[in-house]
């Protein structure tokens, strides 16, 4: 089994077709989806966030590796901080929302997710889009003076359904090799 995953399998550049213009109705509606998602997560409306996930979800955050500059294609490991599908994500959400002893987020962190630099591409599927966004996240907990921060880019597959967009794939490319926060009891 190989130890690294080719960066291209995370970015899925080969799935991108025509770029969707910034400010166009499709771009706006996708931006709206990403903002809504961040709002639901920041406000700990986890069940409502879970409703936005497609049942064929792939949700990964591979570990990052420091490489010589020529090695970008090998900067991500087969192991990740998340390696989830729909069912495993539902177990996470059930734990956080239905039990009263999920201590890693009880008391909860105060989290803000800032989503910027959104690029949208059409794909071979008329109702599906490849979406790249930047994430900047601040997390504060208890009386901590400092914030735990995280920056990443997210490579998403969004699918338009009769109920709106659903997240079918998210590859989170983190900028930290050694994470500064003690866990991912939060979603990215």
């Amino acid at each position: 089994m190989s130890l690294t995953v080719a960066t291209s399998t995370l970015t899925r550049e080969e799935d991108r077709r025509e770029e969707v213009a910034y400010g166009s109705p499709v771009h706006n509606s996708i931006m709206g989806f990403l903002i809504k998602e961040a709002r639901l997560l920041d406000h700990r409306q986890l069940k409502a966030w879970g409703d936005l996930l497609a049942e064929d979800l792939i949700y990964k955050a591979p570990v990052r590796i420091t490489r010589r500059v020529q090695g970008f294609a090998d900067e991500f490991g087969t192991m990740g901080h998340f390696d989830d599908d729909y069912n495993s994500m539902m177990v996470r959400l059930t734990r956080l929302t239905t039990t009263d002893n999920a201590w890693s987020e009880d008391p909860a962190s105060r989290v803000r997710r800032f989503i910027t630099n959104v690029t949208v591409w059409e794909t071979d599927q008329p109702d599906e889009y490849e979406v790249l966004s930047y994430l900047f996240l601040t997390r504060n907990r208890a009386e901590a003076r400092d914030y735990k921060q995280l920056s990443a880019e997210r490579h998403d597959r969004l699918r338009m359904t009769k109920d709106g967009f659903r997240l079918a794939r998210r590859s989170i490319l983190l900028d930290q090799v050694v994470l500064g926060m003690p866990n991912f009891a939060i979603f990215l």
Binding site: T4, R67, S88, W103, V177, V178, G180
Partner: protein
């Protein structure tokens, strides 16, 4: 404080930090900076430390950079095919020689002045050979990277700076008999499922270190959410009666420890199948990580005594002194079957108030690829950064460390006074200290005794 003064301080201090008679440890030990410096010298520069697995560096020149205490080392496979561990500090001007955290290189060349080293750490030379920029006081043989002593065990790479100390076998002692059931049980051995997760936890390393020595008790409360969602053997309203994963056999020796727990008492999927004989159970629930296909290999590689242990109650969690945490646990897989997650953590100190939590996932080499992928996902789901079990642990250790900042808080003690006592069952091998029953503090206290021995060994 200079080295000698620190060691003098230690003689005084250890009796205040650890109350051997009452089995208590001062909370101040989670905060004290002098003590921390001594731990780096007396423990992390003396103990055998697990720093990776040989399947991470299969080819000549492959390397990973790892920590031994706060010292960075290059772990590389050299031209002789062997794994070498060398300090990542240039003997010229102390620059880090290796700047990536993994890769392949025939030559490690320092970017500062160009001193060059082989993967085995030996010095090749400095640029402009005729000018002999390494001088003529020291020979090239004396200018290699500092080498650690290395031993491989089940492919795990262990290293120590203690060149004249015990061998790894001696270090593990009787516990090796049990560790073999995890690390040396199949023909081809384990392999890593990728490069490790790494994260920083704002806590003293000993909070996680001592917990790894069989703290089963915290499962019921800290991991109560996992019981509540029905993943473990008990149910929320009866947890205090059913106490999933609490009854078993704890083992301890030289500060190392393991908890042996029958599958049917810990995981919901195995529940209600407790009427089997040990032999039937071995067939029905091969130990974590062993697929039915690998069972014949297991039987071939293990002694009858070891097979009996594996059938009755396989070792599933525990630690290796001073800073390794082991979880070779049953775990539901994506396809609905009862599979497993094989996880090792190392706990590397980063100052008295922080440590790096490094997480490795494994599978037996003979495991089908699609099963390896499910095992990796199961391990990620349960343990490490986002693990629904371990994310609660990472919340606890910083609180303990913060308690030690208060001048009154640090006068409190960690108490290890729930004692089961050695009580080996008749059918259990006479190896290491054996505690059968509801898991108590025995093995964790043994961890502190090993800590005490090593800290005071040179004093």
């Amino acid at each position: 404080m200079r080295h000698n003064a620190r060691q003098d301080y230690l003689k005084e201090a250890m009796s205040q930090f650890i109350d051997l008679e009452n089995r208590e440890v001062s909370v101040a030990a989670l905060h004290d900076e002098e003590l921390y410096e001594l731990e780096l010298e007396n423990i992390f520069a003396k103990a055998w430390l697990m720093i990776g697995h040989e399947t991470e560096i299969p080819k000549t020149g492959d390397y990973v950079v790892r920590l031994m205490g706060e010292d960075q080392v290059i772990v590389a496979r050299a031209a002789d095919g062997q794994v070498h561990v060398s300090l990542n500090v240039c003997p010229h001007r102390a620059m880090h020689v290796c700047l990536a955290d993994s890769g392949n290189a025939r030559v490690h060349k320092c970017i500062y002045h160009g001193w060059a080293f082989r993967p085995d750490g030996s010095f090749i030379g400095a640029p402009i050979e005729k000018e002999q920029m390494h001088g003529n006081i020291k020979t090239k043989d004396q200018l290699g990277l500092k080498k650690a002593r290395v031993e491989l065990y089940g492919g795990l790479i262990f290293a120590t700076w203690n060149h004249n100390g015990p061998s790894l076998d001696e270090w593990l002692g009787d516990m090796k008999f049990y560790y073999d059931m995890l690390f040396a049980r199949t023909d081809k051995g384990l392999e890593v499922l990728g490069p490790p997760q790494r994260l920083t936890i704002d806590a003293n390393w000993k909070t996680a270190g001592e917990q790894s020595a069989c703290d089963g008790f915290h499962t019921l409360t800290l991991h109560g959410s996992v019981i509540d969602i029905g993943a473990m053997g008990g149910e929320a309203d009866t947890e205090h009666e059913s106490a999933p994963a609490m009854y078993g056999i704890n083992l301890s020796g030289n500060g190392h420890s393991l908890r042996c727990i029958p599958a049917d008492t810990s995981w919901a999927l195995a529940h209600g199948k407790g009427d089997l004989t040990p032999e039937q159970r071995l067939e029905a629930f091969p130990p974590p990580g062993i697929t039915p296909e690998l069972l014949p290999e297991l039987k071939r590689n293990m002694s009858p005594e070891q097979l009996h242990v594996l059938a009755k109650a396989p070792p599933v969690v525990g630690g290796m002194f001073p800073n390794m945490n082991i979880l070779f646990i049953y775990s539901p897989l994506r396809d609905g079957s009862l599979g497993s997650a094989l996880v090792l953590h190392s706990i590397m100190p980063k100052g008295p108030h922080h440590f790096e939590w490094t997480t490795y996932y494994f599978a037996e080499k003979g495991t089908p690829e699609h099963v390896k992928e499910m095992m990796r996902a199961a391990a990620t789901h349960g343990t490490g950064t986002s693990g629904i079990i371990e994310q609660d642990d990472s919340d606890t250790w910083p609180h303990m460390t913060e308690s030690a900042r208060g001048v009154i808080g640090r006068t409190e003690t960690l108490k290890y006074q729930a004692i089961l006592g050695e009580n080996r069952p008749d059918d259990w091998p006479d190896k290491a200290k054996v505690y059968e029953g509801f898991g108590k503090d025995d093995a964790q206290w043994e961890w502190w005794l090993a800590y005490h021995r090593l800290m005071t060994a040179g004093a």
